[in-house]
């Protein structure tokens, strides 16, 4: 179980507990449940790399405590 921090730099900072083998799509659903936006409106990025929905966190090498950028579509 890892904990990921998502920050949208506009006031929303969210800590989400998830598994390493969860996909980005699952992570978006968890974030949506916590922030209240729709899951398909959320975009997760790291600098200019937009993270794709079907790839797991492990494959993106997202570790415990790592910060990701939260944007909206």
């Amino acid at each position: 179980m890892i904990e990921v921090v998502l920050n949208d730099r506009l006031g929303k900072k969210v800590r989400v507990k998830c598994n390493e083998d969860d996909t980005i799509g699952d992570l978006k659903k968890l974030v949506a449940a916590q922030t209240g936006t729709r899951a398909d409106k959320i975009r997760i990025q790291k600098w200019y790399n937009i993270y794709k929905d079907h790839i797991t966190l492990k494959d993106y090498e997202v570790h415990d405590g790592m910060g990701l950028e939260l944007y909206y579509n």
Partner: protein, 411 residues
């Protein structure tokens, strides 16, 4: 300048019509090449030409959410705001299905409730295939009537939040709309008659009048017609009928959805479960727990042999999880039989309230043997879900994950 709404356009729902599309999606459309090149200076006539060239529908797709031409044209229509006649023409035309869908979409966004139902429902009969672009960028197959159904029932489509419209039955009860007549009504009538003939030997029901069945039969997406019909009928019975019958029966009938129609085991199970749940709530908790423990599907045969009644397994399982540690002796069952013998129903209720069950040692011993494997099975189920983790945060997180359909956290 090119993105300004026509100054003569009316405001929709109190605001600029373009605001029906959210800001972020709107900005994406404004920056899109298709919008800049093709949608510049379009009028209602030239819009039709562009619409005829459409070959797929969709919202935004890709990592950076590129809008589809369909979405660009929707925004263009919102910008120029064509007359209602033109939009109705779009919908009525038979040749170009994408023009039809475009018109239907625009009407759903901007029209009043009455118009929406009046003009969109005939499109239910259009079953042509339509190509839909998904958010991943790949295409999916759908049909015109499916799209119309989405427009009428869901509140989000093609990345646009649909404005709220009144439910159909609200308008029906206000008298503004007629009852919906499905094109497949005759087929359903035949099926209905066939089933009624089959179930005549049950002899329970007062035979619901056909009128109730047809009222407000809006189409649903479910392929299971029976379940559909049952739900509609019961919901209407709930609304329209006078409950001057035996209260118990009606209460049960409401809860047990569509009991007289569907003969499946599942339906029986649902009915039993619902009735069980309701009855149980009324009764003493302790007695319920005792009664519900250790009811296993393995025991169906035994119980039928001994003529006993059985509780629903899931109920029993849930209660068992709670009571597992208490080691209380399972008392005799008073629950509803799972058999299809409907005559038992009323007799069963009576039995349920007063029966103490058999205390023959032979039966007790036999049932003890079944308890062990059932307990082990329940222990495993307890762990799988992860929602009962001692740490409340993790339990909460697991509950959320379970509701989203994800596996529990690996610790």
């Amino acid at each position: 300048m090119a993105n300004r709404t026509d100054p003569l356009a009316k405001s929709i729902r109190g605001t600029n019509p373009q605001n029906l599309i959210e800001k972020i999606v709107r900005s994406k459309i404004y920056q899109n090449t298709y919008w800049k090149e093709q949608c510049f200076g379009l009028t209602a006539e030239t819009l039709v030409d562009k619409a005829m060239e459409l070959d797929h529908i969709g919202g935004t797709f890709g990592g950076n959410r590129k809008p589809t031409p369909f979405l660009c044209l929707v925004l263009k229509m919102l910008q120029i705001q064509p007359e209602k006649d033109i939009v109705v023409e779009f919908i009525k035309n038979e040749d170009y299905k994408y023009v039809r869908v475009l018109g239907a979409f625009y009407l759903r966004l901007t029209g009043i409730d009455m118009d929406v139902y009046r003009y969109l429902e005939p499109l239910y009969n259009d079953y042509r295939k339509v190509r839909q672009k998904l958010t991943g960028g790949n295409f999916a197959l759908t049909h015109v009537d499916e799209i119309i159904d989405e427009l009428l029932t869901k509140d989000y489509s093609c990345d646009i939040a649909m404005p709220r419209i009144k439910k159909r039955w609200t308008l029906e009860s206000a008298g503004a709309l007629d009852l919906r007549k499905s094109a497949l009504e005759d087929d359903f009538e035949e099926e209905e008659e066939k089933e009624e003939n089959e179930q005549l030997d049950d002899g329970l029901e007062d035979g619901a009048p056909e009128k109730d069945y047809y009222r407000g039969r809006s189409p649903t997406r479910e392929r299971d017609r029976d379940r559909d019909r049952d739900r509609r009928r019961d919901s209407h019975r709930h609304r329209d009928r006078d409950y001057d019958r035996d209260y118990d029966r009606d209460y049960d009938r409401e809860r047990g959805r569509g009991r007289e129609r569907d003969r499946d085991r599942d339906r029986d199970r649902d009915r039993d479960r619902d009735r069980e749940r309701d009855r149980d709530r009324d009764r003493d908790r302790d007695r319920d727990r005792d009664r519900d423990r250790d009811r296993d599907r393995y025991r169906v045969r035994d119980e039928r042999d001994y003529g006993r009644e059985r509780d629903h397994e899931r109920e029993g399982r849930e209660r068992d999880r709670r009571d597992r540690d208490r080691g209380r002796r399972r008392s005799q069952s008073r629950s509803r039989s799972r058999s299809r013998d409907r005559k038992d129903r009323d007799g069963g209720e009576h039995r349920k309230r007063h029966a103490r069950g058999s205390t023959s040692p032979k039966r007790r011993g036999h049932e003890d043997g079944r308890e062990e494997p059932k307990k082990k099975k329940e222990k495993k189920e307890k762990k799988d879900d992860g929602t009962d983790h001692p740490d409340p945060e993790i339990a909460e997180a697991n509950r959320l994950r379970a509701s989203l359909g994800l596996k529990p956290l690996k610790l």
